[in-house]
Amino acid sequence: MGFTKKISADEARRCPQCAQPVCLQGCPLGIDIPGFIRLLRESDAVSALERIKKDNPFPAICGRVCPAPCENACIFHEEGSPIAIRALERYAADFGHKPNSRIKTVIKSNGKKVAIVGSGPSAMMAASFLLKAGLNVVMFEAANQPGGVLRYGIPEFRLPQHILEGQFEELQSQGLELHTNIFVGRMKSLEELARTFDALLLATGSSLPNFVSMQGEHLVGVYYAEEFLMRLQVLSKANVLSCAGDLIRGTRTVVIGKGYAALDAARMAVRLGQQVHWVFGGLEEEMGLSNYDLKESLEEGINIQAPFEALKIMGDPQGLVEGVQCHPLEIVEGLGGLSLYPSKEGPIVFEAQTVILANGQKANSFLATMTPQLKVNSNGHFWIDEKTSMTSLEKVFAVASAVAGSMTVVEAFAGGKAVAKQIMEYLK
């Protein structure tokens, strides 16, 4: 939930304004966190938003979907009540617009052209900084709407689509040229783009789910979290119910895995009227969620079953899912800290008609197979020179998930910011 004026002011006053702010170390984007919180003490959202926008042009997105590493770094984190930095950022983003902020000063172009393949978080961030530097930026997106994971991987209730569209409108008003429905590699080759542009940025992400070799993974009713979310996300609000019937059967769902993809899929399933068990083979703290999100998921009615190890998915002769066999784990305190062992009790079966697997994503090696000159690592990600972020092809750069595998939205934002600087350096 967003904060009201009073709550935000109260929360901002709670911030002790440490002499050596630890929250700064947590933020990959390097936002002046104590600075904008100080401005929010007097409810000066306009100046606070200006302060944030110096380092992060998309506070409305970060204020909603960031996993908030700054809150984990906050000195109050140990007590269990860190300053709600993310919510304060969202407040500033939602209420800090100047009345005539839509009118933008036109930045003088310096004639250099950069193409960005993909339109996810890292592409957006890179585009924003390159536009500010006066470059012409053209973005190619394969799907029919831009946003990448922000559009297709994050449900509406966590990041409303109009917010995302607003950010793209802002980028376009700054001079971004956006081409959707262009599948680079199939419809336009990389060489073709390299001929017409001065630099090329591959922000293709790592969207393919990690296929696990769990027994029963092929059964009807087993989805990967990314697949599940995307299939619901491409539907319109009007017919989500009639089509969700194709996707979800019965009344019980088991989610296996960790991270935000699992959380989003579980919350979506709850909202489709399912009873959801979330099976995780570790401690609750290891699920990769911020405290606030974990609390919210429990409030929503997700039953977190941890630590449980998922053994296999069971199906009936027709190939439909019947349940998930899990083994409870015991926490044993050993010499090297806590460790988990299978407990003596036998395996338990969670009844389920739908199973959602969230095992992270792997490299989408499509572009590399189409352009053999592009070198890839052993795990399928693009190889880059660490100093310049350039791939094995001259003037082709790669960034974020396309290079390092699955990451959080804020890390991708930070990657986009860094690569924009490197591209500007190269074009000098």
């Binding site: 939930m1 429905n181 599948f183 199939r186 995307m230 609000k237 989500v240 009639s242 059967r249």
Partner: protein
């Protein structure tokens, strides 16, 4: 971009041919590739093989089998209207080589997919024998086009209402015994492709099958169209849709195909589909469910 429908024709029961003006696609498409069509904002995107393309006029032809929500909506569009969105060409171009004597076997809607392949094979200088299987004469389509493209053609119907009665695979078995065949192309039902793959494996003849699993957007992003080929998962949208038939795990494919059955039909056949969600009568609790899906309830 505007994708205007320039021509529309009823081919058989529930099967229509639709020509769409899409110069970008028409100039680049190769046999075996497909496009993703989103008819309106309310429907899924559906993959459609490009059956024919005219580069000069910038027109592609699609064959629409009206089975689900999206395909029915596409069939209802009239000349001059245009679908909401169309992306393509997608998928790997099919393997077309000079083999010698080639048998192309297709059942049902598969004929639409095999026609461009036959045309390309013929152009390369192969001798093409076509086997077309249909349930009955009512649903048989593209017969004349196939007759033009193939050197020889055998048509079978399951109920014997036209030409021979029987299964397409029986004809293939017969042909494999009589002639020295160099390559087989198969498209259609999973059972047919499985049987054809097994037959050719015994004789050591290469076979290429075109698979049609469910796809969400055809861009290799989500993994909905994963199929087990050669022991590992491959995506039909970017690694296919054509695969080596000997490597495809058909039992797995059979299960994967069920994952895309439209709710009502599947409910009848397998009990798949959520009865509560499928009832069309307006219910109060459903309305609140729709709301809660998109907006968080205020606390």
């Amino acid at each position: 971009m505007n994708f205007k429908i320039t021509h529309k024709q009823l081919l058989a029961q529930d099967i229509k041919r639709i020509d769409i003006h899409a110069p970008m696609v028409a100039s680049k498409v190769a046999p075996g590739q497909f496009v993703m069509v989103k008819v309106n904002a309310n429907t899924h995107s559906v993959p459609m093989s490009v059956v024919d393309s005219d580069e000069k006029r910038g027109v592609i032809s699609l064959i629409v089998h009206e089975v689900g929500l999206a395909t029915k909506a596409l069939g209802e569009l009239s000349i001059g209207q245009s679908p909401f969105n169309l992306v393509g060409p997608l998928g790997k171009p099919a393997v077309i080589d000079k083999f010698g004597l080639v048998v192309s076997i297709a059942t049902g809607i598969g004929v639409a997919q095999i026609l461009p392949l036959c045309r390309a094979l013929k152009k390369k200088g192969n001798k093409v024998i076509g086997i077309v299987g249909a349930k009955s004469k009512k649903v048989l389509m593209l017969e004349s086009q196939m007759r033009v493209v193939c050197d020889e053609i055998v048509i079978t119907t399951n109920d014997g209402s036209y030409e021979r009665k029987g299964l397409a695979t029986e004809i293939l078995k017969d042909l494999l015994n009589r002639y020295k065949i160099n390559c087989v192309y198969a498209t259609g039902s999973v059972d047919m492709m499985q049987a054809a793959s097994e037959m050719t494996k015994l004789k050591g003849i290469p076979i290429y099958v075109t698979l049609n699993p469910h796809m969400t957007n055809g861009l290799g992003l989500c993994g909905s169209c994963r199929v087990k080929v050669g022991g590992c998962f491959q995506l039909a949208c970017v690694d296919g849709p054509q695969f080596n038939g000997h490597e495809v795990d058909f039992t797995d494919l059979n299960i994967r195909m069920k994952a895309c059955l439209p709710g009502r039909q599947a409910l009848k056949e397998t009990g798949w589909g959520n009865q509560n969600l499928l009832t069309r009568t307006p219910r109060k609790d459903l309305a609140t469910l729709v709301k809660s899906l998109w907006v968080l309830p205020k606390k």
